[in-house]
Subunit: 563 residues, 2 copies
Amino acid sequence: MANTRIVVIGGSAAGPKAAAKARRIDPHAEITIIQKEADLSMASCGYPYYVGGFFDDRRMLICTPTGVVRDPNFFLNAKGITARTRTEALSIDREARTVACKNLDTGESQTLPYEKLVIATGSSPFIPPVPGIELEGITTLQSMRDADYLRQVRDEGKVKNAVVVGGGLIGVETCEALHLAGIQVTIVEMLPQIVTFLDWELAKLVENHINSNGARVITGNALTEFVGKDGTVTGARLADGTEIPCQLAVVAVGVRPNTRLAADAGLDVGRGIVVNPQMQTSDPDIYAIGDCVEIPHRITGKSVLAPFGDLANLEGRVAGQNAALGDGATFPGTFQTGVCKVFDYVVGSTGLSETAARKQGYDDIVCAEFAGLDKPPFMGGKLLVIKMVADATTGKLLGVQCVGPGDASKRIAIAAMALHGGLTVTDLVNADLPYAPPFSPALDPLITAAHVLENKMLGRMKGITPIEVKAKLDAGERPLLLDCRGPDEYDAMRLGIGETLIPLGALRSRLDEMPGDKDAEIICYCKISLRGYEAACLLAGQGYTNAKVLEGGIMAWPYPRER
Amino acid sequence: MANTRIVVIGGSAAGPKAAAKARRIDPHAEITIIQKEADLSMASCGYPYYVGGFFDDRRMLICTPTGVVRDPNFFLNAKGITARTRTEALSIDREARTVACKNLDTGESQTLPYEKLVIATGSSPFIPPVPGIELEGITTLQSMRDADYLRQVRDEGKVKNAVVVGGGLIGVETCEALHLAGIQVTIVEMLPQIVTFLDWELAKLVENHINSNGARVITGNALTEFVGKDGTVTGARLADGTEIPCQLAVVAVGVRPNTRLAADAGLDVGRGIVVNPQMQTSDPDIYAIGDCVEIPHRITGKSVLAPFGDLANLEGRVAGQNAALGDGATFPGTFQTGVCKVFDYVVGSTGLSETAARKQGYDDIVCAEFAGLDKPPFMGGKLLVIKMVADATTGKLLGVQCVGPGDASKRIAIAAMALHGGLTVTDLVNADLPYAPPFSPALDPLITAAHVLENKMLGRMKGITPIEVKAKLDAGERPLLLDCRGPDEYDAMRLGIGETLIPLGALRSRLDEMPGDKDAEIICYCKISLRGYEAACLLAGQGYTNAKVLEGGIMAWPYPRER
């Protein structure tokens, strides 16, 4: 039997993974990667850190851990895979089972036969069609070339002001990278919030953190035009007429799956290329993987785009195995788990946010917000703010968001695995996680967040969100706002929203200061609302029917504080 | 109706948690904590870090995060709980529903009535009955007094040599703490390995790390006697006759549940106090929680001791709720998840090790060892060695161990949650974890470990453990040992066990150097055995039927290396 010919279109993340897996399964297959770029297997998620100066050796983006550049020689010698770089796939002939391609340097055309084809054409940054978009100094951060360009900007040190258009993952990472290059950065986001995988109140904490680091975030204001002089960008004009001076602009308003090749070949394409769990397209001999496909969301079951580097690798492994061996491997889909570093904050999410859940029609849900330390104070614990979303009837976990200077990445990873297991809040309440003071408090903040959510579900705690409190105050309502901390804490930091300070330890002896009306609304809080919760329990015990807890306390308050 | 009287015996971790939870649920209950020690709610897991100088303010061990000492005043004012410190519970009269207790300072006796009783008497360090055990300078690290004593040793700086008896969690933590105090430390462990929650080969890596930090580990050698002069310890004598000079000895050979009070009251007691999932003893009005109880292992279903601070808190919450409200809350048991810091290593485990699984009668199991970085190299990734154990028939995960300078705590937490969800290796293979370069490689090492295990289960990879290779070599067998790294790597570090160096990239052109016998055993490896795996696949493709992969590669080799 002749050796199977496997052609992989795309050499960034998913493609090489598929090729390598196919090789390990079938040592005799003839495997070819077609890659438009000059480089292969680039660590593209590392670009912002190269630009930001976390490391200086560009080769580390395209090397194996032992320092070997992953070039066509490496693929040939170490893996027995032919990699054609600077080669564009032009079209797929499904009848003839061939791919037409062209060498971009020599102009030479070639037709490659395949028995199995893997499409890993990735995605392209969306470029908004605004006037001036063609000016010099406007870029994306998607390719090695982009990374090289921005690194050069850093190294030259000439640019003083930059605008980042878009406040998503790449936007905020790019913001930090340019800030670390000594550039004054402004993020412009059209929507009312950045990092839209978070609910507004958590995104606002991230925004506050970026602002406090000296970068600037503008939300709810769209870019309408780039202005320039002598062909070079000099400013960004926004919908409200503001013009932000800049010598550099990075456009990061999302990516679009590269589906043209698949669509032209008559394959089913939705928002991305349509695949089954085997990562097979509508043609059983053609697989598609990575940013160019749509995959099922594991909670909603609906097809979503999930352009994440880790999923590209997982999908590549599945397609590589199936191309080499038949269709035994499956990929179950995504929880759209993601994380990013934004200055000293870690920002992550898995599953559905409250906003996403409601948009998907989940209306019987319950949420809790919690703030706490990621380690004991004596080990230098840092703050985390967690929001947990669950199905109110079944208690099944739907999603977790986590932001703060603490190790949010760990908590999102744990939460993601809880989603994989279909766990309920009750399961999480008694989770047996590894505890030692260098790594977590005795009860991990994720467990405590589950405790808060359980207390709410069982009606033991009446929570109120900062958004709800703010709306009440803005509407002229005057609930009793009870800050339960100590006077020294109050002097150092306070909301200043008309609150009354009664330390928890004094509350029992100062009950006469409570409203005469036992049904009056009392909103209790402290730094993280643990004492606030105790106060609300105490008041409930005294017959107060409407004592609530401001969830997450002062640390999760997204609005300006008096102090 | 009269207020419920709830008495809690024990004021360290589980007891105060139960009392606080009961208070929040029932604002009217009369809640009393009886605590033998002078302190309450001590962060006892923090003792080694206080001794080691990670922080200097002793109060942090007994304070709330805002700096309030958790003394009887605090419990009374902030929580409405009466705490009687320096008070010993002498006996329980189940008929009369009373607890007899005595104030250790005044000698005053008292009888406290209860409707609900919670026993949280904790555990005591086992003190081996060896000659000399009573000498001055011999201590445990279990109480605030112990911590104060050892901290004083640190601050005085007189002790030059110390022996730590026992290489479990507390033993290795104490070793590091004393080492950081400038003391030359020797750990003496009777068993063939330290940290027995790990399999031998991983424990050996930890032992090597301790030795490389300048402390010393002696295994397989029991303490037989302490020797002393003028009533003070001067040395520890071992079974083989060795005498180790020391001015200090810390005994850490495990703890025993304090069950006497419960047993005397006629409650069911096994190795610990027997409880149901409601944390109820054989008397429905008496609960027991924390180190003094035995609880179900969530994999084997058998009762185990699990003296962990986090479980004490979880159990306390359940008992507190049930004492106040009836028996609605349940505690499902433990995976014996644990983690500790040992110098620059993190060492953790969840579920069953291979040894534990076999001891429990699981013989149809499959294991894989994997070494890899916890982040990309360009973000300063650090090594982790992971061992994963699964049921060979169902693929269900049974346990994960992880050691190394990388963030093992995160991986054990993820793995613990996978156990909670009853996940299989196939589930883990496609796990959607949060990825960004500051936090993990594109594929988390835990996922890659699952890939290795899947490859083994599907027969795609023949693994061989370092222990098996060593046994072959010791038995005079001479398999072809194929180091697939580069010459520079080989020069810098190598096993030196008679291996042949053929870089993976050169193997295709040097197949003539392979044995003529296609059934000859060939053992392939590299630094972490990823290239070793590719080499084995390549050789299998060339018809070699017996090409194996040394699991975990050089980084998981527990024996001395040539270089």
